[in-house]
C-alpha cells in the first residue's frame, strides 16, 4: 500500500513539474473533498434535495389539469337540459357541484372552492331549437387563475359541442380536421418535459450556490488569504476548490438521471455519453458563476443572496424549463441569452425526449463554454484585485 502510493507520487512529480505541482493539487483536492464529504449539508443538497425536487416535478408540479371543481346551475327542467347536465357530470376532467341558483355559487368562486360555473338557462330548449340565436349556455370562470380559467372555458364549450354533435338531429358535416400528433412525448405527460429540466435546476444549485458559499466562507474567515500566501498557485487553489464540486455535480446528475429514467419513467432517447458531456460542460459556467459571486461577495450571506437571485431564480424562471421563452417580451428574451441554464435545459429535453441531435447540442455546448470562460476570467480579475 505504502509502496504503491510512494511510486505514484514519484510518477506524478516527474510528470507535472511544468506549470503547477500536481501532487500539491491532489493534496488540495483531497482536503477539499473530505471537507465537502463530511458536511451533512453538502450531501443534503447534492442527493436529498434533487430526489425531492424530481419527485415534486414528477408528481406535484403537474400542468395536466384534472378534476377542476366547477358548479352547474340547471335553470331549465327540459329533457335536453338534463341530458347536457349529465354529460357535464360524466366528464373525468370536471368535478361538478349542482345548484339551483347562481347566487349560491358566487361566494364559492370568491373563496376558491369552485373555479367556475356553467349556467344552463331557463330557455335552453328554445335556444337549442333556434339556430344562429343566442349562445346555448353561460360559462363563468375565476379569472384570478388565468390558466385554469381558460381551461374551464374551453373544456365547457367542448362538452356542449360534443353533446350537441351526439344529440343533434343534423347529420355531422364534413369539415376540416386538424390531426395533432405529438412528437417526442406522445403521451403528453408534462412530467416528461419537466423532469429533465429539473436536472438543470439541481446542477445550478450545486454548481453555483454551493461553490459560492464554500469559497465565500474562506474569504469570510480570512483563510483564503492564508492559502493564497502559501506556495500553491491561484490556479491550483481554485482547481482544488472546484473539482470536488464538479465531481459532486456529475454524481448528482447521474443519480438524478437514474431516478428520472427508472423511477419516473422518462425515456432517455439520446445516449448517456451525450448527457454526461452536456452536464460536464454546463458545470463550467455554473462553477464559474459561483466563483465569481464568492470573490465579489466575500461573505456567505451576500453570496447566498446573490447566488439566489442571479443563479437559482433565473434558472428556474428564465431557462424555458417551466415558462416558454418565446412568449416573453423582447427585453426579457435578451436576458435569457445570458442564463447558462437556458442552453442546458434545451439540450436536456432533447437528449431525454428526442435523441442525440448534434445541431441542437453543438451551439448550446459552445455557448455554455463561452459564458463559463467569461465568468472565470471575471472571477480571476476580481481575485487578483483583492490582493493588492
Amino acid at each position: 500500500m505504502n509502496r504503491v502510493r510512494h511510486r505514484r507520487g514519484a510518477e506524478i512529480e516527474g510528470a507535472a513539474a511544468r506549470r503547477f505541482d500536481l501532487r500539491r493539487l491532489l493534496a488540495l483536492i483531497r482536503k477539499e473533498s473530505l471537507q465537502a464529504w463530511r458536511d451533512p449539508s453538502t450531501l443534503l443538497i447534492a442527493f436529498v434535495l434533487p430526489a425531492v425536487l424530481l419527485f415534486l416535478f414528477a408528481y406535484a408540479v403537474s400542468l395536466d389539469v384534472r378534476r377542476v371543481r366547477i358548479g352547474l346551475v340547471l335553470e331549465s327542467q327540459g329533457a335536453s337540459a338534463q341530458a347536457l347536465a349529465a354529460a357535464f357530470a360524466a366528464t373525468p376532467y370536471l368535478d361538478v357541484t349542482f345548484a339551483r341558483d347562481r347566487r349560491e355559487l358566487t361566494g364559492k368562486i370568491v373563496s376558491g372552492a369552485l373555479r367556475g360555473y356553467v349556467v344552463i338557462p331557463q330557455d335552453f330548449e328554445h335556444r337549442l331549437a333556434e339556430p344562429g340565436g343566442r349562445p346555448l349556455t353561460q360559462v363563468i370562470t375565476d379569472g384570478s387563475l388565468p390558466n385554469t380559467a381558460s381551461f374551464v372555458a374551453s373544456y365547457a364549450q367542448g362538452v356542449v359541442q360534443t353533446w350537441r354533435a351526439g344529440a343533434g338531429p343534423e347529420a355531422p358535416r364534413a369539415a376540416l380536421v386538424l390531426e395533432p400528433r405529438y412528437w417526442f412525448n406522445a403521451e403528453l405527460e408534462s412530467r416528461r418535459s419537466l423532469v429533465p429540466g429539473a436536472i438543470a435546476i439541481v446542477m445550478t444549485i450545486i454548481g453555483t450556490m454551493l461553490t459560492a458559499l464554500v469559497v465565500a466562507r474562506e474569504w469570510e474567515r480570512g483563510t483564503m488569504e492564508a492559502v493564497l500566501s502559501t506556495p500553491a498557485s491561484v490556479a491550483e487553489i481554485l482547481i482544488g476548490k472546484l473539482s470536488p464540486y464538479f465531481v459532486l455535480g456529475m454524481l448528482s446528475t447521474l443519480a438524478a438521471a437514474g431516478l428520472a429514467i427508472f423511477v419516473f419513467q422518462v425515456p432517455l432517447r439520446g445516449s448517456l455519453p451525450a448527457l454526461l458531456v452536456l452536464s460536464a460542460v454546463f458545470m463550467v459556467p455554473a462553477l464559474g458563476q459561483g466563483l465569481l459571486i464568492s470573490s465579489l461577495a466575500r461573505n456567505q450571506f451576500l453570496a447566498a443572496q446573490i447566488a439566489l437571485f442571479s443563479g437559482f431564480l433565473p434558472a428556474f424562471m428564465l431557462s424555458g424549463f417551466l415558462f416558454e421563452i418565446d412568449s416573453m417580451p423582447v427585453w426579457i428574451r435578451a436576458i435569457t441569452f445570458l442564463v447558462p441554464a437556458r442552453y442546458f435545459v434545451a439540450s436536456l429535453k432533447t437528449v431525454f425526449l428526442a435523441g442525440d441531435i448534434g445541431s441542437v447540442f453543438l451551439p448550446n455546448l459552445l455557448t455554455m463554454a463561452a459564458i463559463g470562460l467569461v465568468f472565470f476570467l471575471l472571477a480571476k480579475r476580481a481575485t487578483r484585485k483583492s490582493l493588492e
Binding site: S41, L44, A60, A175, L176, N185, Q305, L322, F323, L353
Partner: protein
C-alpha cells in the same frame, strides 16, 4: 413563552433588536442585496412567468396548390400567437425544423386538400407538435385546430350558422392577463426567500463565529434570543413585501380590490411563520453553509407545492394535504384574493388561522431547539 421566562426585559430586547438590524443592514452591500434584487426580480419575472403562448414559429409543408391551403396559410400568418410561418419544400425539412426546436408545430398539407374541401368531403391536415414543450404544444394544437375549423366552416359556407355553445365571462380578470396572477404571487415568494435566508443565518452565524456561546452565558433569556432574532427579519420581510405590493398596484396597475389593511396584517403573519421556519433551521445548523442550504431545501419545495407554478388541486391528494402545512399556500390565496377578488374577511380568516398555527408551532419548536443547546 414570555410568562414562562419571567425575565423578559424590554430594554434588553430593544438593544438587541437595534443590534440585529444594524448587523444585517450596516454593510451598504447587504442593504442593497436585501432590497434591490427582489424588486428587480419582480419586474423581470412578472413578464417572464407566463403560461401563455405567443411569438412561436410554425412550419408548413404545402403540397397543395389550391385555394384553401392558401387561405389556411394566410390565416396562420394573421394569427396573433405566431411570429413566423416558415414554408418548406419537403417533409424532411419539416422534421428538421421540429427537431432543432425552430418550430413548435409543423403542418403537412396533402396534395388533394383543396379538392377534397371543395367537393364537400372535408379535409385533413397533419400537425406535428413538439412534445418537448408539452404544455405550450397542447395550447398551440388548440389554437391551430380553431383556425382549421374556421377555414373548414368557410369552405362549407352554405351550411346554416351554428349557435355558439357558450357565452364565456371571466370574473376578476376579464382578459385573463397572466401578470395579474403572477405579480401578487411573486410578492409572496420573494419576501419568503428574503425572510427565510435572513433568519436561517441569524443563529447559525453567531454559532459559526463562536459568539453564540457568549450570548447564552449573558443574562439574555431564550425567548429574548428568539424574539430579537425574529424581529429584524420580520421587519425587513414585511417591508419588502409591502414595497412589492405597492409596486404591483402602482407600477403594474393590478387592481387591489380587497382590504389593504387585512392584506398587510396577513403579510406580517405570513412572514412571522416563515421566520419561525427559518429559526428552526438556524437552531439545528452548525454553520452558515448548513443554514443556507437547509433554507434552500425547505424553500424550493415550498414554492413548488404552494400552487404558484401549478394549482394545488392538480396534485395527488397526499401532497395536497402536505401543501396545507406550507405558509406560502395560504398566503397565495390571500394575496390573489385581496388583489383581484375583493375577498371578504371571512374567507381571508379561513386562510389566516393556518398561518397563525404554523407560526406558533415553528416558533415554539425553535425556542425548544435553542433551549436544547443549553443543556
Amino acid at each position: 413563552m414570555a410568562q414562562r421566562a419571567g425575565r423578559l426585559s424590554f430594554a434588553r430586547l430593544r438593544a438587541q433588536f437595534t443590534k440585529e438590524v444594524l448587523c444585517t443592514l450596516r454593510d451598504p452591500r447587504s442593504r442593497m442585496v436585501v432590497f434591490m434584487p427582489p424588486l428587480l426580480q419582480l419586474l423581470v419575472f412578472a413578464f417572464a412567468a407566463t403560461l401563455e403562448v405567443r411569438n412561436v414559429d410554425v412550419a408548413v409543408h404545402n403540397q397543395d396548390a389550391g385555394r384553401w391551403s392558401h387561405e389556411l396559410i394566410r390565416r396562420l400568418e394573421g394569427a396573433g400567437f405566431i411570429a413566423q410561418v416558415r414554408s418548406v419544400g419537403s417533409a424532411g425539412a419539416l422534421r428538421d425544423l421540429l427537431d432543432r426546436g425552430k418550430a413548435i408545430a409543423a403542418l403537412e398539407i396533402p396534395a388533394d386538400f383543396s379538392r377534397g374541401l371543395a367537393a364537400g368531403d372535408g379535409g385533413r391536415v397533419l400537425a406535428l407538435i413538439d412534445g418537448r414543450r408539452s404544455n405550450s404544444g397542447q395550447i398551440v394544437a388548440g389554437y391551430l385546430s380553431a383556425i382549421a375549423a374556421e377555414v373548414g366552416a368557410e369552405a362549407g359556407a352554405e351550411a346554416a350558422p351554428e349557435t355558439a355553445p357558450a357565452a364565456v365571462r371571466h370574473w376578476f380578470n376579464p382578459n385573463l392577463v397572466y401578470r395579474w396572477f403572477t405579480v401578487p404571487g411573486l410578492t409572496g415568494i420573494l419576501a419568503l426567500f428574503s425572510a427565510l435566508l435572513i433568519t436561517a443565518l441569524s443563529i447559525a452565524r453567531e454559532r459559526e463565529l463562536g459568539t453564540f456561546d457568549q450570548l447564552l452565558v449573558s443574562p439574555t433569556s431564550t425567548p429574548e434570543i428568539i424574539i430579537s432574532k425574529s424581529l429584524p427579519a420580520l421587519a425587513i420581510g414585511s417591508l419588502l413585501g409591502l414595497l412589492m405590493i405597492a409596486a404591483a398596484a402602482g407600477l403594474f396597475g393590478i387592481p387591489l380590490t380587497g382590504s389593504f389593511g387585512l392584506l398587510a396584517a396577513s403579510l406580517v403573519l405570513f412572514i412571522l411563520s416563515v421566520v419561525g421556519i427559518g429559526l428552526m433551521i438556524s437552531a439545528v445548523s452548525a454553520t452558515q453553509q448548513q443554514a443556507i442550504l437547509g433554507a434552500f431545501a425547505v424553500g424550493v419545495p415550498s414554492v413548488l407545492m404552494s400552487g404558484f407554478a401549478t394549482p394545488v388541486e392538480n396534485m395527488p391528494v397526499l401532497l395536497q394535504w402536505l401543501a396545507q402545512g406550507i405558509p406560502l399556500t395560504h398566503f397565495l390565496v390571500i394575496v390573489e384574493g385581496s388583489f383581484l377578488k375583493a375577498m371578504p374577511p371571512g374567507d381571508i380568516f379561513m386562510n389566516l388561522w393556518p398561518l397563525a398555527v404554523i407560526a406558533a408551532v415553528t416558533l415554539t419548536l425553535a425556542t425548544m431547539f435553542v433551549r436544547g443547546r443549553l443543556q
